[in-house]
Symmetry: C2
Subunit: 406 residues, 2 copies
Amino acid sequence: MLIVQKFGGSSVGTPERIKRVAQKVVEDHRAGNKMVVVVSAMGDTTDELVSLMKEITSNPSEREVDMLLSTGEQVSISLLAMAIKELGCDAVSLTGGQAGVKTSNIHNKAKIKDIDATRLNTQLDLGKIVVVAGFQGVTPENEITTLGRGGSDTSAVALAVALNADLCEIYTDVDGVYTTDPRVVPEASKLKYVSHDEMLEFASLGAQILHPRSVELAKIYNIPIAVRSSFDFSKEGTIVQEVSKMEKELVVSGVAHDDNAARIGLYDVPDKPGIASAIFRSLAAKNIDVDMIIQSAVRNKVNDISFTIARDDLRKALSVVEEIQEKIGFSRYAHDEDVSKVSIIGSGMVSNPGVAATMFEALAGEGVNIEMITTSEIKVSCVVKSKQANQAVKAIHRKFELDAIE
Amino acid sequence: MLIVQKFGGSSVGTPERIKRVAQKVVEDHRAGNKMVVVVSAMGDTTDELVSLMKEITSNPSEREVDMLLSTGEQVSISLLAMAIKELGCDAVSLTGGQAGVKTSNIHNKAKIKDIDATRLNTQLDLGKIVVVAGFQGVTPENEITTLGRGGSDTSAVALAVALNADLCEIYTDVDGVYTTDPRVVPEASKLKYVSHDEMLEFASLGAQILHPRSVELAKIYNIPIAVRSSFDFSKEGTIVQEVSKMEKELVVSGVAHDDNAARIGLYDVPDKPGIASAIFRSLAAKNIDVDMIIQSAVRNKVNDISFTIARDDLRKALSVVEEIQEKIGFSRYAHDEDVSKVSIIGSGMVSNPGVAATMFEALAGEGVNIEMITTSEIKVSCVVKSKQANQAVKAIHRKFELDAIE
């Protein structure tokens, strides 16, 4: 098999940990696999570089930030390659640019445009373990770029795509994807499989095990991702793969919750074309990400619009709302800063009517009031008071019998 | 003017110092100069990386060492570019590879083969201050290399050559080249000018202000180098340039001393072809650098051979000597581990007979015994007992009236 493995910053945070990763990689290589290993910067390296930078300027050039931060991965790839060679396997480290990772020229959040795998394939054919710097690439002009949030996971998946790898293993702080947050529900079960779409929903709901970018990419190119523990290599983890490969299909795969939410309601908004876009364009202009949006049915040519945002953005959002009130012409607005979003996720939902009803029953049974509801083909989300969120998650998890799977 | 400036690791050791360098560079830019700035890794960065590496392996791959260590300069160039931009001048940082520095593929001690200055010139023409990572380059295969000892000085001079710069300024721990070591002779005078050849002799004699590699290169391409203080930018420093440009030509420019020497004498060495090469080949095979070599006139088909080496190499050298004694067939050997080399250097020497005699008189006047003598066109070196070295330097300095120049 050709396997792409990715280890995050904490997995390579010290020389000891780097040696441990090297041991694992070498074992998998000796088991007959071709290995490409993607690593992030060691532990606190990025923070240290950022704090150096802050002593120089509070407004750094984005290009120079990439020049600076990309050194972090370059240090870890060279050390990991050394550690692998120390164990008697041949290895070579490659920067993003050397590995053929071509990106757009948007510094700090570049997108991978293409990977020229020639050099990677040459090194693999020589029997070498190839260690690649995650999170980085180069533009066509050979400018160093970084990929922004979720960049290293995305690097790994993109390399797996380019190399037509059999598997992409992402080693993380958790040992797999659970039916819900085990800190909330100790009975949560580890899923053996989830679909890419389910994983995307989990990811976008605060269970940020894999960055959505990487999952999207894996979905498009149909690359299976194994989410595994970087603390215990013996654990199996969860495989994220296309639905058709699933051995067993749960109607609901998991219950996710996002506690970092706030809700804003606008009342008596005039019902005319362009109003919604004017509201959300103003919020977007201030870089405020809006999550759920609900518009009530029209009565008397006005309606109510509610939306949720990250709680940190609440002050900023309220000032936008106040600013646009007169122009838009809504009568009043209100907010609730202590709400959580609780969601059920499952590819099986689409062919199983009544799933949403079951969820609402679970909430009703606990006396949890639902403030907002949205649904998609594989997800139902409810906004509830934060203080009832854990109770809601537990009840739903139990109702769908997720405590007992496997 | 197009000026290439080089700042070493201690000059950019902290964010504060980086800002100070930025200030200097911006001043020179605003005075109307085109500026290229070459920097080393910040202060202890390289040591820190090496100590991380030692926790991983005691026998690192040279390629991976270059991958690791080259990050040091990449950090300092990005921070310096940010600091310059913070002062309102446009700047761009370039790695060795981005700056077009092409090297041989000998890792850890690559030689600069060529510089493709296209990108440098483009950036300069845009009015930018270009900050280049010293000490590094890339092979034709885009492998990252480092240049080994004296690498950053060499980078600066090579860039000055490629850009046809008017001046290469090297900022160092000293404020110029002195007629002798000011710690030994407080009356030592700072030289306004020295020739490249004189500088080479100074460098090879322990007064290691500029690495000989960089001076050689500057000599071949006739680039003037200004040696200036990184502590006090207001000081003028010393210009290293071709002889013909000198305003004033001293017969003797300076007195150098090298206290890290040891002498080995081989007695009754058979006088036949190939003997000398056999001896020095054996020493070279153990990486022992031999400095002075003196062979006495032949008597009875044997002669005596004396040579000096770095004192640290003495044990290693003696074991080589012992090993080859039988094969070479010399009767005995002896060593003296407390010797120093005292030299006078001056381009004017070649046309001034009697300079060596003046030096010997100075030594005789102090009762200093001369153990070995070698001469070149611009240098006379004497080996003396280490305990008399300072006395010798002072006497010679006085004899040539170097206390009083300028």
